[in-house]
């Protein structure tokens, strides 16, 4: 049995995620789409907190809401008038989009519904099974043993360096 606060929090956050993700792809003003994306990302961060991954929620807020969203807003303001409406969708294009997404929802929903391992533990038992503390994350991230993540950690750092240089080389004025 969950606490009543957890259940209320779950319903509020999932409603926020569903409504704002629908609005992010249907609104005709591009700056609003970026703002709705921010709310979806924050809702996801709340889910991470609720599932017991505090570090991941903090990373989500810092990197996505703090970094990527700012980049989006910058590029929107650089490349177009933010008050302009985009063109109204043609019927054909809207039909194709709705068909593809509804087909995906039906297929994946059926797969989830018939999934044999779906009814396992509740959140309460899953949370008590393991407490993720920062010390464990740090030692796993920098260990070279089995289930250690030293190599991907270094690979990501090289990737980020390449990304910095690539971004400068692509976007600078000649």
């Amino acid at each position: 049995m969950e606490s009543i606060g957890n259940i209320v929090l779950y319903f509020v956050v999932s409603l926020v995620i569903i409504i704002f993700s629908v609005m992010a792809v249907t609104t005709r003003k591009i700056l609003r789409a970026a703002t709705y994306l921010l709310f979806v990302l924050l809702g996801t961060a709340v889910f991470y907190f609720q599932l017991g991954y505090e570090f991941l929620g903090a990373v989500q807020i810092a990197v996505y809401a703090g970094g990527i969203l700012v980049l989006f807003v910058f590029s929107i303001l650089l490349t177009q008038h933010p008050a302009d409406d985009s063109k109204v969708l043609t019927m054909h294009r809207r039909f194709v989009g709705i068909l593809a997404s509804l087909l995906g929802v039906a297929l994946l929903g059926y797969a989830l519904y018939t999934m044999p391992f779906a009814e396992g533990m509740s959140l309460q038992t899953a949370l008590t099974a393991n407490d993720v503390d920062m010390q464990m994350i740090g030692s796993k991230l920098l260990s070279t043993d089995k289930f250690g993540y030293m190599l991907p950690f270094e690979a990501v750092s090289v990737l980020l360096l390449a990304c910095i240089i690539g971004g400068i080389a692509i976007a600078r004025k000649r």
Partner: protein, 103 residues
């Protein structure tokens, strides 16, 4: 009432479907990128949910999401650099208008 795995997977499923819809219907390059972020975010959320409910003793899904967030940041930065460069070349970010490389 118990919060089980299926209940967490449903918002993530709808988020992904919205991303697919936006990716197909949008004409603006930045709006397409926003839809892409929605899909990526849904996948990240799925990794964490499966990690928490199926293998609560492990941390593999969490680390996968951690690296995925880092790579998504790099990818977005590069994509926006490319979009700004396209804007300099053709003064537009609409996929209908970008036909300079067409044969």
């Amino acid at each position: 009432m118990n919060l089980d795995m299926l209940m967490y997977l449903i918002p993530s499923l709808i988020m992904f479907a919205c991303g697919v819809f936006g990716f197909i219907t949008r004409r603006n390059l930045i709006a397409i990128l926003i839809s892409l972020e929605l899909m990526l975010n849904a996948v990240d959320l799925n990794f964490v949910i499966f990690n928490r409910f199926l293998f609560p003793g492990e941390l593999e899904g969490m680390f996968f999401t951690l690296f995925s967030i880092g790579i998504a940041a790099a990818e977005t930065a590069l994509a926006i650099a490319i979009i700004i460069n396209i804007f300099r070349a053709v003064k537009n970010v609409d996929v209908k208008e970008i036909t300079k490389l067409k044969f």
